[in-house]
């Protein structure tokens, strides 16, 4: 797990800012992100109702996107797939608030960091944390899907908090 996950996240936020509306169907392929993930960090407000049609926000993929029909015609199962930046999100784009700060304040990230303080842990074990959390809705990890958890771990790694050695994850700072 190595790369520039924070950089790509910032880039994604800037694109949402520029476009006005972000959508899972281009955020995913282009940046490996989902609106829901950014929403959980408070950076994006997902649309639960009155989700705008693609032509309404002049999506750059309008006319060629295979999913356009869902938003423009079917109007089924589209809650949470699009969203707009929140004030916090704009602050991050303008570098007034750091993405790192927001991450470290997230309860799920805190759980990861706290548990990893005790020593290296296998990724299979981290994955088990998600399973056990899913049994209890109160657990901060309960809301995380595996892809989202993987994204958070990549962010923490690229920010220097974690290190990966094959399947082992350890805390660096």
């Amino acid at each position: 797990m190595s790369g520039d996950a924070p950089g790509r996240t910032l880039e994604a936020l800037a694109r949402v800012d520029g476009a006005g509306v972000g959508c899972d169907f281009w955020l995913g392929p282009e940046f490996g992100l989902k609106i829901g993930w950014l929403g959980r960090l408070g950076l994006v407000r997902p649309y639960r109702q009155r989700v705008p049609r693609c032509v309404e926000h002049r999506c750059h993929l309008a006319g060629i996107c295979p999913h356009q029909r869902r938003f423009d015609v079917d109007r089924q199962g589209i809650a949470g797939l699009k969203g707009e930046l929140t004030g916090l999100g704009r602050q991050v784009v303008r570098r007034e608030v750091s993405l790192e700060e927001i991450l470290l304040a997230d309860p799920a990230v805190r759980v990861f960091l706290d548990r990893l303080e005790f020593g290296p842990v296998s990724q299979f074990v981290i994955r088990r944390w998600l399973l056990e959390a899913a049994w209890s809705e109160a657990d901060p990890l309960a809301a995380l899907t595996p892809p989202e958890a993987g994204w958070l771990l990549r962010l923490l790694t690229d920010l220097g908090y974690l290190a990966f050695d094959e399947d082992r994850v350890s805390r660096r700072r």
């Binding site: 299979f124 899913a134 892809p147 958890a149 771990l153």
Partner: protein, 1089 residues
């Protein structure tokens, strides 16, 4: 009709011009030259072959002097289709068994026999549930019974269904307790029934979205809320006068070709009551026009009614018990909408009743047996155009449902039926004509063989019911008679007799236990599974722990074609998915438009060498270089690609599979979960033993994987506790929760929720090939599918693995096996010639059959995709060298020095010993004519001596194995050991090769058995792979006893297969000689023992 009267009837000495109801069988051969468009002429013979004379069948049951035609009669048209179908299949002249229900001698002087009503081929068992399908829609019957169209994955059952099932199962157990004189245990039994139903349905229920489960509290409680009412009802209904209540009894009527499982038969002073229990009025119901009530199960109940009537001699009282969780409604069969619509009278057994039974049964037969179309593409395409009622077979609409069940018919769901009324946009026209020729030929060729096996299975019950058990025991060795039964304890009964049990029955075989004097198929038969099989006794786990008292019992192999059913469905699923993935409509699909994996299976893809990929993780297990190479190639596979891994004996296939699963799961650890996203890994094995071994290896090598492993299926006897803990219901302690019975609402809800979450997060599923359609796998697809023991699975069975790939077969497939070890076990019932569309260019040899696994065919076709493991962890070097040089081109070697340097056990100082019996007086084999009866007392004695020498020198008896190809020889060997050393009797495993595969011992003794001047090897040794498996079971010592000449020298009657085998055996002999010169082997005579 008595035999004498029947003979007199045919001779013209019976009543003239007046129909009779003989209910007698005839063997009828079609005289086509004298038949016409409305007349069939038959030559009839008795079942012993004695000619009876000519008979005719006319349309509409006409005969000279008849009062009037029987409009809409099906008999003529259906028989005509059956005869034409037989002719198309090459049966010349077409001949059938007919059970004549009604006939007339319409002659004035000479006899003129006209058959009016009959059952066609009653030896072919049609199950009652299938009769329901045909009643609802004969075309559906064709698609499901012949083509084998499987259901599309459905939504998991609602909890309402499970609650109803739990009440039904609890009711059944409580009723049994009351009838057995244990009314105080009724409540306990009821609760156990609830547990049984929950455990059975749990794998399907966990497929629900965990979020939905939270709202199910009320429904969960329902079975417990109804307990008091159910128990009170049972006590009132079954208290006094009920002699016996028999549950879930298999019945078969050999004169009607009808069978099935009756929910309940109550035998009391008032007679016999047959009860068909239905827990909901779902699809398959009939609407009572008078009451407006929906009542299911009419045709099923009718079939059971008829079967029990024939066994009992008089009509039983038959009712449908409709239980919807709140109330119990009894509908008597004569009042059922199906029967009333038909105008039939089940109690009086009138003509309408006979026609209702016979029409559905005969139409089901011609559909299931493929007589309507065979494999003619034009006929297959033409049949749906006859309409859903299949006009060409005739028949009265009064004996069919009003409208077809298109919404739940598999053919409609899969979009291949052109009569689909539920969704006309999913009608497919000319589907059969659009299939590429090679794909159709592939499907048809395998399908035909599977159907031939199915036919043997369907006729098996008839054989059991009509042939003398002593004859069956001698001929087939899957019947055991004259057994005495002990008490039934915890559902298990011990059956024994003074005579040895020489049988082909094995542990885990399904059987029927029947009390004398009845035959299997009578409702006193009980199904069970053999759990233990010894020399004079066996132990059977009964499905219903109640055997009718009798002085003697018989045990017969049951086997109602379940294996063939799922193989046919898997094969047809492959065809349908291939066509759907091509994405072409309205024209013939080109082979090049099929997905790459399908083209690979069809043998026309050009495949490069596999490209290894780096491992994301350092392997945990200490893998050999060839295992590491194979691992890299598995990880390097791209979607749509296939790899073959050949694992000779002892080379660590299971370890490789476990490591591959771990690496692949890691690769997808952070992938999305939940439908429709694919899961990472599915591992399917040919046997439960192999599946359990994979789970154990995974758990022990990487305990961190434990939460993500699901062992598909239910907990079974013999399963290690660690493996059982991976079954979904065990993960959440469901059994214990139900048993405790405390705070059930919240605990069961929690159980379901945790089970659903666990299922959603699981990343490695392990099961058998038969489990590819198991409830917990329904609706799931996998990125990577690994098949273990692929060399022992038939090609259609291996195709099961492809059912679980994403759409377009867009996943990877790894077949792990060894085509130099035992092949698939099939009953070869006539192999059709390989069609020209298939052939050597696709890996099909002229002698190809179901016995050639997909693994073997593709290994020949794509050697570049075959990775062979070369380091083995079992055999000492000399044995390894012998096996490697003889069977593996010299590529096998010990993996470590510790393995290589294992010493032979005392008192032997060589690893390989061949005790030659050539020229020794009295060493020849004995046989009673058939291959099965071969034995060799001389060799048996020698084998016993070797065993005793090893044991006396300190080798634990459990580390010695004796192998011979023949049961009879094994029996002799066991007796010889017992005679020589009674303390060793039953402590040394003596068995056939087939039962030893997968096992190993320090010392293996092989009795070749075959020893004769003609050098006749016999059928079993004609397959050289048997000897490979036998020798490679040994770690430190292998002793071969037998005639070198018989094994290696040409014989006058040698077939090509035998000649090929002997060339391997000559190589084996040369290897032994080479080892002898090197001091690792000895060739000796019997005197040295």
């Amino acid at each position: 009709m008595a035999p004498a009267s029947w003979e007199a009837f045919w001779a013209g000495r019976g009543p003239k011009g007046r129909p009779v109801y003989p209910d007698r069988p005839v063997l009828a051969a079609w005289v086509e030259a004298e038949s016409g468009p409305s007349k069939i002429v038959l030559d009839a013979a008795d079942t012993d072959g004695t000619p009876l004379g000519r008979a005719c069948v006319f349309d509409q049951e006409w005969y000279p002097g008849c009062p009037g035609p029987v409009r809409f009669s099906h008999y003529f048209r259906t028989l005509q289709r059956a005869l034409r179908g037989l002719k198309a299949l090459g049966v010349e002249p077409p001949r059938l068994r007919l059970q004549v229900l009604k006939a007339v001698d319409a002659g004035r002087g000479r006899p003129y026999i006209v058959l009016l009503k009959f059952v066609i081929s009653p030896e072919y068992a049609v199950w009652a549930t299938h009769l329901e399908w045909v009643y609802r829609c004969p075309l559906q019957g064709f698609y499901r019974l012949f083509v084998g169209v499987p259901r599309a994955p459905t939504a998991p059952p609602g909890l309402q269904y499970t609650a109803g099932n739990a009440i039904h199962t609890g009711y059944r157990r409580a009723a049994r307790a009351v009838v057995d004189g244990r009314p105080d245990e009724a409540l306990t039994e009821y609760l156990l029934g609830i547990a049984e139903a929950w455990l059975a349905d749990f794998p399907a229920l966990v497929r629900h979205d965990p979020g939905q489960i939270q709202g199910w509290v009320r429904t969960i409680r329902m079975p417990w809320e109804h307990a008091d009412r159910i128990i009170t009802g049972c006590r009132a209904r079954f208290g006094a006068g009920a002699a016996a209540v028999l549950h879930e009894r298999p019945v078969f009527a050999p004169t009607r070709g009808l069978g099935g499982r009756v929910d309940r038969i109550i035998v009391s002073d008032n007679g016999i009551q047959v009860v068909e229990v239905k827990t909901s009025a779902g699809p398959g119901t009939s609407l009572d026009p008078l009451t407006g009530r929906q009542v299911p199960g009419g045709v099923q109940a009718l079939a059971y009614h008829e079967a029990v009537r024939l066994h009992n001699g008089s009509p039983p009282e038959t009712v449908i018990e409709l239980f919807d969780g709140l109330q119990d409604v009894l509908v008597s069969l004569p009042d059922h909408p199906v029967v009333r619509k038909a105008g039939a009278r089940p109690r009086q057994v009138d003509d309408r009743y006979l026609d209702l039974v016979a029409q559905n049964r005969n139409q089901a037969f011609v559909a299931a047996a493929g007589l309507l179309t065979g494999y003619d593409r034009q006929l297959l395409n033409q049949l749906p155009k006859e309409g859903h009622r299949l006009r060409g077979t005739g028949g009265d609409f009064a004996f069919q449902a009003d409208s077809p069940p298109c919404s739940w018919c598999p053919a409609g769901q899969r979009g291949i039926c052109e009569q689909n009324r539920a969704d006309p946009t999913r009608r497919a026209y000319d589907f059969w004509l659009y299939i590429p020729p090679a794909l159709f030929a592939y499907w048809a060729w395998f399908h035909r063989q599977l159907k031939a096996e199915e036919r043997l299975e369907r006729e098996h019950l008839f054989k059991l019911a009509t042939v003398d058990p002593a004859v069956l025991e001698a001929q087939d060795a899957t019947t055991l008679g004259g057994l005495r039964a002990g008490p039934v304890v915890d559902g298990r009964v011990r059956l024994e007799r003074a005579e040895r049990l020489e049988t082909r029955l094995r542990e885990d075989d399904p059987v029927l236990v029947t009390p004398a004097p009845y035959r299997p198929g009578h409702f006193t038969s009980v199904r069970g599974v053999i759990r233990r099989l010894e020399t004079f006794h066996l132990e059977v786990d009964l499905e219903e722990p109640h055997l009718p008292p009798a002085s003697e019992y018989r045990v017969d192999r049951a086997g109602l074609g379940e294996r063939v059913d799922w193989e046919v469905e898997g094969l047809t699923d492959f065809l349908l998915n291939a066509m759907a993935a091509a994405g072409v409509r309205g024209r013939r699909v080109r082979e090049s438009e099929l997905p790459p994996l399908v083209r690979t299976i069809l043998g026309r893809e050009h495949l490069p060498n596999p490209t290894p990929a780096p491992y994301p993780l350092t392997p945990i297990l200490d893998l050999s270089p060839s295992q590491l190479e194979a691992l890299g190639c598995i990880l390097g596979l791209r979607p749509g690609e296939l790899l073959l891994v050949q694992g000779p004996p002892g080379t660590g296939k299971t370890a490789l599979i476990a490591e591959a699963a771990r690496q692949l799961f890691f690769r997808h650890l952070w992938d999305p979960i939940g439908a429709p996203d694919p899961r990472p890994v599915l591992i399917l094995a040919n046997t439960h033993r192999a599946a359990n071994e994979v789970v154990l290896k995974l758990l022990r090598s990487c305990p961190e994987l434990e939460p993500f492993i699901v062992r598909v299926g239910q907990v079974m006897g013999g399963m290690e506790p660690e493996v059982a803990a991976c079954v979904l219901s065990e993960r959440v302690n469901l059994r214990k929760i139900i048993r405790d019975g405390l705070d059930l609402e919240s605990r069961l809800k929690d159980c379901l929720f945790r089970g659903a979450v666990t299922h959603r997060h699981a990343g490695i599923f392990v099961g058998t090939l038969a489990a590819a359609a198991a409830p917990e796998l329904q609706g799931l697809v996998f990125r990577h599918v690994i098949v273990d023991e692929a060399g022992q699975a038939t090609e259609p069975a291996t195709l099961q693995a492809l059912r679980r790939l994403p759409s377009g077969f867009d996943g990877t497939v790894v077949l792990v096996g060894d085509h130099c070890q035992l092949p698939p076990v099939v009953q070869v019932a006539g192999v059709p010639p390989v069609p020209p569309e298939l052939g050597a260019h696709r890996g099909f040899r002229p002698d190809h059959s179901l016995k050639v696994s997909l693994f073997e065919r593709l290994a020949d076709l794509y050697p570049q995709r075959l990775i062979r493991l070369t380091e083995q962890y079992r055999m000492a070097r000399p044995i390894s060298d012998l096996v490697g040089e003889t069977f593996y081109g010299g590529t096998l070697r010990p993996a470590t020095a510790a393995v290589a340097d294992q010493l032979p056990p005392a008192p032997f100082d060589r690893h390989v010993i061949w005790v030659l019996t050539d020229g020794v007086p009295g060493a020849a084999e004995q046989t009673a004519g058939s291959d099965e009866t071969r034995s060799n007392p001389y060799e048996a004695d020698l084998a016993a001596r070797v065993v005793v020498r090893l044991a006396r020198a300190g080798l634990p008896p459990g580390q010695v194995g004796v192998i011979s190809p023949y049961r009879r020889q094994n029996t002799r060997i066991r007796q010889a050991i017992a005679d020589l050393a009674p303390d060793l009797a039953d402590r040394v495993r003596v068995d056939t090769v087939d039962r030893f595969q997968g096992g190993e011992r320090d010392a293996i003794v092989i009795s070749l058995t075959a020893s004769n001047p003609d050098r006749n090897l016999g059928e079993l040794l004609a397959d050289w792979r048997r000897l490979n498996v036998a020798i490679s079971r040994a770690r430190r010592l292998v002793v071969i006893i037998g005639s070198r000449k018989t094994l290696t020298e040409p014989g006058p009657a040698d077939t090509p297969e035998v000649r090929a085998a002997k060339s391997y055996y000559r190589r084996l002999w040369a290897g032994v000689q080479r080892l002898a010169r090197a001091g690792s082997a000895r060739v000796t005579g019997p005197e040295d023992l």
